[in-house]
Subunit: 317 residues, 2 copies
């Protein structure tokens, strides 16, 4: 049976949750939302393309989860509370089973963070998912990239390099625990919210730690120094790769969706308390210096070097 | 010279306009916006894929224009004032000249309507453009699809069928004036704004008049009757096609981006005054009846029929 665009939209509409501030959701020319007074709107958009942002063998539920997760991660990096999102879905052919699987993952994560899917479209084309996510934050409280100050510590949540490790094959096999981190990232929304008033700058680690920290450095007009040996590592990554390989994955692998942030030295106890409270590892990995750029060093101060420092979707791979 | 993702983003960022309510635009994890108090937020998302939503030979500037126009048309259909938008652009390879052309069209239309591009991403993939547009409207004043009442007139702005005519080839050639309507639609933002308080329901004509009016009918729980011979037609369409062909284009062709709306009979003078004031043809084409569905009839009441009544991106073409 052919499933047309309107059937797919009906299928989506039947399953989405809502919020009190959604006046009109899916089904009109546009959604109608009532933002609470006094808050600023935080908006981000990210696209995932098959074969570029996820392997072709990724399960539909994982694609759904990840397409929302990468956007929630941007809201997290701003300290915003997730509110609403739109979904533009291009599919080679209508496929109700694929859509149902996709929605399982997308709506599972949406429910976890109380974000309502309020609009979008389905079109025919190569598999591609564009999501725009909107969140809310109090004026002056958003975490930005441009607030790092000389003397600040550099911190990162969770562990690094797992997603890059999940892409790699060892004797022809992927490591399931690492592949799960690639397919099913956890956006650090609670951590981002809790860091309002503590962090001076924040970015999510999507292109690789050194590249993303470089955005903080350049926007803040400072330099950052990172101690590569201090980067947090999962047991699965340690077990699977030699030291040089996993260090490169931790420093430069993309898709971790952890938060990298700066905070004054006198905030160390607050950050550590937050880590306990959230049950989330938060590791001090470096500091902010005068100058520009990001230096990666070993514990003894020797420079660390890796051929590949970041991920650029258009760079030669 | 290779042009990476960050270069493309810098290229875009250097050219976008801004607004006083944009606290932080392109260049952070997300944009930060300060919505004016007391207004509702109107959000829509639409994707254009090469070969599906525009012919492969479409000029980059026209693709840029159209990718924003289709979204502004949705805001227009809600009676919203355009405010901000995001752009997700997938390109097979980085191409600075293509981006510059694309931005010429996109930013030209953005400037015309005072909408600020505040974020998005560029990724590698088959050519695809996803835009999310946000607008503002006073509570209770949005034009919705569900307000049509029995006895209302049905109206449409501009002329119909030109975009469908622009796709057709006559003796191997396209008609330039019609092709221009396909590539360079004018979203009826001013008309949508002016129809607040007059129209009882409104939809933009993107999938074809009968299909889109069908959305008003089903959402409002009424039937609509349209007189096909009354549908407004450009001179270029009249000159290029025989009566049966152009009537089918007017009734069922997509991509016109006119507004179809309903209004009480006692609003006829106000609609006509509005038409003069805007310098925009607005034609009465039918009426709302009890029942369901859309009937297309001739002036003498005989039913009109056409094999293809609407456009569905996933239907067999």
């Amino acid at each position: 049976m052919a499933t047309g665009e309107f059937d797919l939209i009906a299928r989506i509409r039947a399953r989405v949750g809502t919020r009190d501030d959604v006046v009109l959701g899916i089904g009109d020319d546009a959604a109608l939302l009532a933002p609470p007074p006094g808050l600023q709107l935080v908006v981000t958009a990210d696209t995932l393309n098959a074969g570029v942002h996820f392997p072709h063998d990724t399960a539909p539920a994982d694609i759904g989860w990840k397409s929302l997760a990468v956007n929630l991660s941007d809201l997290a990096a701003m300290g915003a509370a997730p509110a609403w999102c739109t979904l533009s879905l291009s599919l080679p052919q209508p496929d109700a089973a694929w859509i149902d699987g996709f929605l399982d993952g997308f709506l599972d994560l949406a429910g976890e963070h109380g974000i309502a899917l309020v609009g979008g479209d389905t079109t025919r084309g190569p598999l591609s998912i564009s999501v725009t996510a909107m969140g809310l934050v109090e004026p002056g409280r958003a975490l930005r990239r441009d607030g790092a100050r000389v003397g600040d510590d550099v911190w990162v949540t969770g562990t690094l390099g797992d997603a890059a490790g999940g892409l790699a094959r060892l004797s022809g096999e992927q490591v399931p625990a690492l592949r799960a981190r690639l397919d099913h990232p956890s956006p650090r929304v609670d951590a981002g919210r809790a860091l309002r008033g503590i962090a001076t700058a924040c970015v999510d680690v999507s292109d690789g730690l050194l590249a993303d920290l470089g955005h903080i450095a350049s926007r803040s007009g400072v330099a950052a120094q990172v101690e590569v040996d201090a980067l947090p590592m999962s047991e699965a990554l340690r077990a699977a790769f030699d030291e040089a390989t996993r260090a490169a994955m931790q420093a430069s692998g993309g898709d971790d969706y952890e938060l990298c942030f700066t905070a004054p030295m006198d905030a160390r106890e607050r950050v550590e308390a937050l880590s306990s409270q959230l049950g989330l590892r938060i590791t001090r990995i470096g500091r902010i210096l005068a100058g520009e750029g990001v230096q990666a060093v070993h514990a003894d101060g020797r420079p660390w070097s890796s051929a590949r420092r970041g991920y650029d979707h258009f760079a030669a791979q």
